[in-house]
């Protein structure tokens, strides 16, 4: 007997993992783009916040 996939019966279940991967990559791309475009002055400032006291 084979290990059956109980969810094969739900139509279009395969879309769930696809949606999630798609969302992650979009999100990741956005964050990466932002990070490289971010203002250098801001990054320097934020980086040094722990040392301001």
């Amino acid at each position: 007997m084979k290990f059956i996939n109980y969810l094969q019966s739900i139509s279009g279940i395969g879309i769930f993992p696809m949606i999630s991967l798609f969302m992650f990559f979009t999100f990741f791309a956005l964050v990466t783009i932002y990070v490289f475009k971010a203002d250098k002055k801001y990054i320097e400032h934020a980086k040094n916040v722990p040392f301001e006291n």
């Binding site: 007997m1 290990f3 996939n5 109980y6 969810l7 019966s9 739900i10 279940i13 395969g14 769930f16 993992p17 949606i19 999630s20 991967l21 969302m23 992650f24 999100f27 990741f28 964050v31 990466t32 932002y34 990070v35 490289f36 475009k37 971010a38 203002d39 002055k41 801001y42 990054i43 400032h45 934020a46 980086k47 040094n48 916040v49 722990p50 040392f51 301001e52 006291n53």
Partner: protein, 708 residues
């Protein structure tokens, strides 16, 4: 605008620091006791309160929620104030938070010792304590957000993002996983059953590791490594990617705890893919921490704080490399249910959480007491003995894990299993002994630290309120010319909270929607029937005694497991299991098909003295099950609760339950009598035997007809 003067609250930080140390000692001692119990079962003392199945949850809860929990609050209260240049929002809330959390810990320890447990790992506490946790957590969040809203530094440093994500996600996990139906003041049933319960539980369990043991400590790393090394973090850009990628990915990875189980394939695969991707942000974070020290390694040599922090971050890197590997199906097939997993979590717990906490304590206590550490030499000794302890703990456990797994899978040339399960148990003894030694070394290190810090406190003078000054935030902030959408989030804590919640909730929703659809889609197996009242009571004793800490109830579809235990487990078999009891560690054999394997008298004798039936067994004795009368006072309520949850007992069954229970008890009593055992039919052991004999019976009858 005028400079404002204010004071940082060190007193709450000090309290949390003391609590961290004390609960650390208690939790680790608990760990040492259970490690020794596996080598010398007499140390179970034949007493319910001190038996392995009850002490093990005390150990795990104590180190996670008491030791690390207080460690988080200590670090957050110290760093947050300084990062936002404001005193904690309310001294009263700080006080309620501190004492509320300690009250939870004490109640937790007492109730677990008394066997009040939901039977879901790392979420064992019963519903009144769950509610208390929610309230205290809200107080923490309120205090934290109050502080952030009064800040004098506009930009929220990355550490604070980690704190915020921790707060929202832990709240979400705790609430979703704790949905249960109360039966009595200290007894409830999980709302979910079987496969669903398992998915929710490991979504919670995995993310408790992620958002209780990891994200808050990463926040602390981003504050304390730069502070201790006196240089800013290597790459702030990397830390932003680290944060978002980590919180986004972590939430999906839960099903990797359930590979090869009766959980649907797509969920397993999703868990694997996201777990493997997790390497990237985890290592990004580790590299960021370590590279902060580039060109300052000479400092690391002299500074014991940095030494602890470096080993902590390295251990984090090791554990987060291993984790994704363990979620590959082929590796998981070997490691799951073995001591390999125990080694893995202890690299994280002892190395990452432990050492980071110690580093912070060595940094904070002298600072707040305005003095130097009492003895650098002792601190160095702690460092070396602790490191040695981790190695002596982990290496034998890895070895044991491999050995167990291969012994479980060995076949002779004739195609028979080579080893009895018992052989695989007795072979573990030298490794378990070495592990206990490693744990002892580690604990000795912590005792040395406690002495050292105690002395430091004695020579120092505590500064309860530390003076500080800063400019208030200007009312009308004009952003830099190139303002950006992400900065809109970073400046606004509430936005950050909402976005974090959305990010983590997406993962949860996508995982759960199909899970809830599943309920109507699991092929019900017609022969699977609800437990009888006596079996239900027996099952509750099984949960109370924490049998799941040593026994699994999940046969994976491997030749070796099917040969050893019988037909592999199907999702439809667990539809009435509130909560599921699949377990996560096979110190003893799987029990899901144990019904009918032995006569009732075997179990009876096995509970009196396991070694009499299985020489060399390390299972504790359970003689109180033979002495104590079964308490059926809440039977009616239990049946009704089960009916509410959809278990198809006939209408009015609650009223007839006790009669049914008495009848079945007498049958077992008569069975025992045939084998020369005289006992009253009202003892707990009767219910326990009824439950064990039921396990796997339903499916056994059908598989005879179904085999092709």
């Amino acid at each position: 605008m005028e400079i404002e003067k204010f004071q940082y609250d060190n007193k709450t930080v000090k309290w949390f620091a003391y609590a961290t140390i004390i609960w650390g000692l208690v939790g680790m001692l608990g760990g040492l006791i259970i490690a020794l119990q596996l080598v010398f079962p007499v140390l179970n003392f034949d007493t319910a309160y001190t038996t392995y199945g009850r002490v093990r949850p005390i150990h795990t809860n104590a180190v996670i929620f008491a030791f690390v929990g207080n460690g988080i609050f200590m670090g957050v209260y110290y760093s947050l104030q300084r990062l936002v240049k404001a005193r904690m929002f309310s001294d009263l809330l700080s006080k309620i938070h501190f004492w509320g959390w300690q009250l939870i810990i004490v109640l937790a320890a007492a109730s677990l010792a008394l066997g009040k447990t939901t039977g879901k790992e790392y979420a064992e506490l019963e519903w009144p304590i769950d509610i208390l946790i929610t309230l205290v957590w809200v107080v923490f969040g309120w205090n934290m957000f109050g502080t952030i809203l009064r800040r004098r530094e506009r930009h929220l440093y990355v550490a604070i993002w980690f704190y915020i994500a921790t707060f929202v996600t832990v709240a979400m996990l705790h609430i979703v996983n704790s949905i249960e139906i109360p039966v009595t003041l200290f007894k409830s049933y999980s709302y979910y059953a079987g496969v669903q319960d398992a998915l929710v539980q490991w979504w919670y369990g995995h993310n408790a590791v992620a958002f209780f043991l990891t994200t808050p400590y990463l926040g602390l790393m981003y504050y304390f490594i730069p502070k201790a090394a006196n240089r800013p973090v290597y790459s702030y850009r990397l830390s932003i990617i680290h944060f978002w990628a980590l919180i986004f990915l972590y939430i999906w990875a839960g099903p990797h705890h359930l590979l090869y189980t009766a959980v649907p394939d797509w969920a397993q695969s999703l868990g694997v893919v996201f777990s493997v991707m997790l390497i990237a942000p985890s290592w990004g974070g580790m590299i960021n921490g370590l590279l902060t020290l580039r060109g300052a390694w000479d400092k690391v040599r002299d500074d014991v704080v940095l030494k602890f922090l470096v080993v902590a971050v390295t251990a984090y890197g090791m554990a987060t490399f291993e984790g994704p590997m363990l979620s590959l199906k082929s590796v998981n097939a070997v490691a799951h249910f073995t001591d390999w997993i125990v080694a893995h979590v202890h690299v994280g717990a002892l190395g990452w959480n432990g050492f980071l906490t110690f580093g912070i304590l060595y940094y904070l206590i002298p600072k707040m007491f305005q003095t130097n550490l009492y003895s650098k030499k002792l601190a160095n000794m702690h460092f070396w003995i602790g490191t040695l302890g981790i190695l002596v703990y982990a290496i034998p456990m890895y070895w044991a894990g491999f050995m167990q797994s291969s012994m479980w899978k060995d076949f002779t040339e004739e195609g028979q299993l080579q080893w009895q399960f018992l052989d695989t148990v007795t072979r573990m003894m030298p490794f378990y002994a070495a592990r206990a030694l490693g744990g002892t070394l580690y604990l000795v290190g912590v005792i040395i630290m406690t002495y050292n810090l105690f002395k430091t406190v004695a020579i120092g003078k505590f500064l309860p309120n530390e003076d500080a000054e800063a400019m208030p935030l200007s009312e009308n902030y004009t952003p830099h010319s190139k303002d950006h959408w992400h900065r809109w989030i970073e400046r606004k804590p509430i936005q950050l909270l909402v976005v974090s919640l959305v990010v983590v909730a997406i993962g949860g929703i996508i995982e759960f929607v199909p899970t809830f659809l599943v309920k109507s889609n699991i092929p019900t197996i017609a022969s699977v029937k609800p437990y009888t009242p006596l079996e239900l009571e027996g099952r509750d004793i099984y949960i109370r005694e924490g049998c799941y800490t040593c026994h699994s109830q999940m046969i994976r579809p491997f030749r070796s497991e099917v040969a050893r235990y019988g037909e592999y487990s199907k999702a439809g078999e667990f539809v009435y299991d509130h909560p599921f009891q699949w377990g996560s560690k096979r110190t003893g054999p799987d029990l899901v098909r144990v019904g009918g394997k032995y006569p009732d008298s075997w179990h009876y004798n096995h509970f009196i003295e396991p070694t009499s039936m299985s020489p060399g067994s390390i299972m504790p004795t359970y003689t109180w099950l033979l002495d104590d009368d079964l308490d059926v006072s809440s039977l009616k309520a239990k049946i009704k609760a089960m009916q509410t949850l959809g278990v198809p007992y006939p209408d009015g069954f609650a009223e007839m339950a006790e009669a049914s229970l008495r009848k079945q008890s007498q049958e077992i009593q008569a069975n025992l009598k045939k084998d020369g055992i005289e006992t009253s039919s009202e003892k707990e052991v009767i219910a326990m035997i009824a439950y064990l004999q039921r396990l796997g019976k339903d499916i056994k009858t059908v598989s005879v007809n179904n085999t092709k």
